[in-house]
Symmetry: C2
Subunit: 483 residues, 2 copies
């Protein structure tokens, strides 16, 4: 099938929606979809289709079938048992619906012949009519700028996000959106596409690659029925934008798990890795890595160097963290006499160290020196990346004498770091008072600084981000630091 940007773009801009399988039953999935689009602000009509009687559902205009709706309907969300699907899809085709997202599961992912046959049947109807099917076994579209979504608690904001996410799994689409929200990612378009019976991953990747509003493409994929086209689409997209991929089903048992999840036919690990490498795509090992790498690519200025300077408040952590940086391919250069001199001018108490890693020790409490420290590192020609390790052990104790100290210090760090032009990341490792720790990390995130729970997660995201910039000349896909 020839790729047609406009045709796909129309799927994301329906005039009216219908949800098939809506009832007044508590926790009815159809109502969840109908309400989600209303809460997210979809501007056109939202029709409810209640096939079991047409009884009015909440205040949605309710009908028994899609055909009975008086006006035009461009996009339909379907949540009825699998056996009713051929009839509903035929209705949609007859009505002239452009696209249908099918939530219903029980198709090819069951591994049973009946599931495959049912899926083949609806594909045939779609192909003959021009109706595009998303799914089945998926959550469909989240496009906050148009008020489209699959759950009413999905994030909303003013203006448009720049991250688009294509997820074969509905659960990972959710989780990715929520994790992304914590990390300050604003999503442009998310598509959970499930069993890929018609609308395929390669079409969506081509679409996101062309889409001017998409800056970074995230992909969770378990497998596809057209590996060649997928590979080509990834390579095309990789020429234009950062593409970050989480592959589900990398080994025999993972592939088996994927097959029973979305009916996907997964390829072998080396094949995938070769394709991703050729595409210049970054391979994440898990959902956290996918989202945190997007955050890091999005927030940091371009860098290709490996030389890191680490600012710590606890010697023990700094030694272990220094080991980890080397394990991940980064370098911790010895500081030049000039930088050492500048740092010693800023702080000189016993127990502090102005070697790399820098140990502020008890001097952490003097936030007047923060600008001097980070300016010295920003000016150091042998420093590519600055890492702040924010450990709370001593703060918590000192707060007894100075309530509010932690928040003041975090604000002072953020003010000092805002003046830095080099890439800065923050690690907030867990200790005691997990809620406070989480709040501190969130404050750094909200200020636009990539922040991580563990050193390994920070280093993995930095490593992938560096890999991206080392391959490409231009730092496409970057948003600004301050959200």
């Amino acid at each position: 099938m020839e790729f047609d940007f406009q045709a796909l773009d129309r799927i994301f801009h329906p005039r009216a929606l219908a949800v098939v399988g809506v009832s007044n039953r508590l926790n009815n999935a159809g109502v969840m979809f109908a309400e989600a689009n209303r809460v997210l602000g979809f501007a056109g009509p939202i029709y409810a289709i209640n096939p079991s009687g047409g009884e009015q559902v909440k205040d949605f205009p309710t009908y028994r079938t899609v055909r009975e709706i008086p006006g035009p309907v461009d996009h339909v969300i379907i949540s009825v048992p699998a056996k009713f699907l051929p009839e509903v899809i035929a209705d949609c085709a007859e009505k002239g619906v452009r696209s249908a997202a099918i939530f219903t599961s029980g198709f090819s992912e069951t591994g049973e012949d009946s599931g495959w046959e049912l899926e083949e049947k609806i594909r045939k109807i779609a192909r003959e009519s021009g109706l595009r099917i998303i799914g089945p076994n998926c959550m469909g579209i989240y496009y906050p700028a148009q008020g489209l979504g699959f759950r009413s608690d999905l994030p909303q904001w003013e203006g448009q996000g720049n991250i688009s996410f294509l997820s074969q799994s509905g659960g990972l689409a959710f989780s990715g959106i929520f994790l992304g929200q914590r990390c300050g990612l604003k999503f442009q378009k998310v598509v959970s596409y499930g069993n890929e019976t018609d609308l395929s991953s390669h079409e969506l990747i081509d679409y996101f690659a062309e889409d001017p509003a998409t800056g970074i493409i995230l992909v969770y994929i378990e497998g596809t029925r057209d590996g060649i086209s997928l590979a080509r689409a990834l390579i095309r997209a990789g020429r234009k934008k950062p593409v970050i991929v989480l592959k589900g089903g990398l080994n025999e048992i993972g592939i088996r798990a994927a097959a029973s999840h979305t009916g996907a036919m997964g390829g072998k690990r080396p094949t995938w890795e070769a394709i991703l490498k050729q595409a210049g795509a970054l391979q994440a090992g898990g959902l956290e890595e996918l989202i945190e790498t997007a955050m890091t690519v999005n927030r940091l200025p371009a860098f290709t160097g490996r030389r890191m300077i680490m600012v710590c408040m606890s010697g023990g952590v700094s030694v272990n963290y220094t080991d980890r940086t080397a394990d991940w391919g980064f370098e911790m250069p010895e500081l030049s006499p000039e930088t050492t001199k500048k740092l010693r001018a800023a702080f000189d108490a016993p127990g502090t160290s102005v070697k790399n890693p820098i140990d502020m020790a008890s001097s952490y409490i003097n936030f007047f020196i923060y600008p001097d420290i980070f300016r010295a590192l920003d000016e150091d020609p042998d420093c590519d990346i600055i890492m702040l390790v924010f450990t709370m052990e001593y703060y918590i104790y000192a707060e007894r004498f100075a309530p509010g100290l932690v928040d003041t210090t975090v604000s002072a760090f953020i003010e000092a770091l805002k003046a830095v032009r080099k890439p800065v990341v923050v690690v907030c490792p867990s200790v005691v008072e997990e809620e406070k720790r989480n709040q501190i990390q969130q404050t750094f995130l909200n200020a636009g600084f990539p922040s991580f729970l563990t050193i390994d997660r920070a280093l993995k995201a930095l490593s992938l981000t560096r890999q991206y910039h080392s391959k490409k000349g231009s730092p496409a896909g970057r948003d600004s630091r301050v959200p």
Copy 2:
């Protein structure tokens, strides 16, 4: 020096304490130590030594020097500038003090000749008098059963803990204690020993190996001045108890960082790894791993098998997690017809899967089936380990219709899991509502089930625990599941 258990044991059982360097200045470190021992419930007298005038500090009996104290003093904590140390140590020796923990830094870790000389001077006084020195550049002893500690917010509880921890870093001693508290670890004795000028890591390891109250030995070490003795002590201890080691300074830059932290002379990575292997010690890669492995060794029944069955509520996560298990050397066997049948009898809704990983999907909401599910896995002869992956995405939505659902479900899982005899671990990955997630993880931890934020952390801890049981016949060091 011959190892003398009784002599070392006396250090942990002083009749009276003195803290040198106490003043009425806000945030004075000496007061922190004095108050810590009082709050933790030390039964004997706690004297304050205020060398700059002898002015009374709070309600502690205050003197100008240790020599002026009327009664006996067995253990002294020292927090005065480095240059005063020889005099203070000479006073202690004259007074007949058994042991001194020196908080002061500015010795060999500075890398300067004056620091080395000062340290040599106090070592000489100590060796001549029989006074044992812990440190300098350390936090000293935390032994809650005797009310000894270095900060008043250190955890306390009824009865004795079974984990002892030897940390060259004071910061990591803190962090390890606090992290351990979250993980439900109860510490027996913790020693932050810093520059190791006198009392050495190998003596402490020998002591913990003999100590009947110590079930598991944790070690954070950067380097030592007597590598042969340390290696021998580790090997001796490894024959008796689980020993889990975090080595700080594994490569050139890490070793450099360690040298400026505790003045430690670190060996090369292959040497360390060979010693740890010979000792049967488990090597943790970071503090979280050290603590989480201790938790897992402590809580789980012995196991040597690799076959895991995973229970999930979200298909996307389950596929990725299945990949990860294989990466860490575990197996996810296909379920037997018998187990499959039992599971299908428990739940059969569309979207669920009774293959391994088991995807409860929408059936998660029916907590009446949990006992049936876990009983089936417990009875399955092809299952060595059970992993529950607790994802919250759907719960959060369903709570709108059923407030309290999440807590009810967590309790129901815990009740069902309590009947399981096989090793069980729980993964609570982060999504939205981090505070709620953290609280859920804490509830599983409090119920005695090793619980983790990420699959990789769970698999690493399981992998090390399995390594321990595969080497040793007996599951020494195990506490009970329910705390």
